[in-house]
Amino acid sequence: MPETFVIVGASLAGGSAAVTLRQEGFEGGVILIGAEPQPPYERPPLSKEYLRSESSFEEALVQAPDFYGEYGIETRFGVRATRVDDADKAVELDGGERLLYDKLLVATGGSNRRVPIPGIGLEGIYGLRTVVDSERIRAEIAPGRKAVVVGMGFIGSEVAASLRQSGVEVTVVDRNTVPLRRVLGEEIGRVIEGIHRDHGTQLILKDTVAAFEGVSRVERVTTARGRRIECDFAVVGLGVEPATELLAGTGVEIDNGIVVDEYCRTGVEGIYAAGDVANHYHPVFGRHIRIEHWQNALKQGPAAARNMLGEGGPYEEIPWFWSDQYEHNLQYAGFHTEWDELVVRGSLEERSFVAFYRKDGRVLAAVALNRGRDLRRSVPLIKAQERVEAAMLRDPDIDLRTLAGVQKTHR
């Protein structure tokens, strides 16, 4: 009896995993289930090129729509999986259908955090997660219209930039001192703040939204510190929560997402997880990390698929992402939550630098603005997790590629 592998989550991680199963020669059943009606697509354009009407949806598709049928991948798009029965090895779908699996990959991603702000149910207030969300925001865009963007994480920052680039008057509200503070820290956040200000975005920082007001549609936003901002629409980007509901009641451990080992396996035999929803044990960093970015979905989905086939290995890609804002290209590699020194090569003022988050002399992560080549050259250094002298990191005449592996004796 041939095996059946079920993948829940038809996005980049899930879609790529299905493709990998076939590319690796798996001949059993593959069923790909997705709550959204579209075939798997990539999300980075939704806050950027697609939002600005510069690219088409077809360009974002992981595979052409007929690919799945041609490769014998059974698809259930527009159908939500509601529950996993790990005792019977079955997935239950909205509508009552029950699919048996031999192995299950959960790649359900996340859902936007819902915040109980008064008036958030008014028309004209949007979150951004799906292509439909992006299209709704797109329909609001016209030069001279006024928007409030709530939250200056990556989604908020990119949306604010795209709206400005489209001629919208933008005011952002963020509770931190600078945009992107939580991930990138104060110094880098200040650079990002300057970029947004230079493009005419109004930034209201160290403040929070008290209420959205309006009759049926949002007309203004009020803040905790008493500001009133008139607007035609608003976009809320206050973070993501991993979509783990499916596994409630199973033996799978949930802690900041689905807990998996370095092979993307949960503690329950036959159940795997990948992508935004997976809290994965990363061998390089020696801890569990959960990554909500494109490259992780692209690479971890296939890694999980290979492990389902028993022919993979530990997943140890160094996390990496980009965020284009206005004419600037920001990139980050590695993983850090705390650091004791930020070492800069280049110039924050000139907006051309790579900066290293260092702890106990080791480079945990790097962020670059308009210096993608240097960022890429830093990845081996991050992977090596060795002590590197700050002076060498700073020196523009030292090729970063030569710094990994030179100080092994100091370990």
Binding site: W294, W322, D324, Q331, G372, R373
Partner: protein, 102 residues
């Protein structure tokens, strides 16, 4: 009929280097892979970054902005986010001069 256009002295582009030139109004990158010159569109098909500003690893050029990878010999995409290949061009050496067929 496309003609060969001189872009540089051949010995000015060392092994493992990649550099962009103007060829009849097009930005064309030329990579020196073990002494052989490979020419291709400098403009990444994803979001138009200059590929010559990225690194060359063996015969792969890596977009500095979003990490797309192309085989410089065929122009084919080895790694997204780019989907479309880059155009490639013939090269030749004439009297020490590197030429690209535009």
């Amino acid at each position: 009929m496309a003609e060969f256009v001189p872009v540089s002295r051949a010995d000015a582009l060392e092994e493992g280097a990649v550099k962009a030139f103007d060829v009849l109004g097009n930005r064309v990158a030329v990579a020196n892979i073990a002494g052989t010159f490979h020419a291709f569109d400098d403009t990444c098909t994803h979001l138009q970054c200059s590929l010559a500003e990225g690194d060359l690893e063996d015969a792969t050029v890596i977009c500095p902005c979003h990490g797309s990878e192309f085989d410089v010999r065929s122009g084919e995409v080895l790694q997204g986010p780019a989907r479309a290949p880059v155009e490639t061009y013939e090269t030749r050496i004439e009297g020490g001069s590197l030429e690209v067929r535009g």
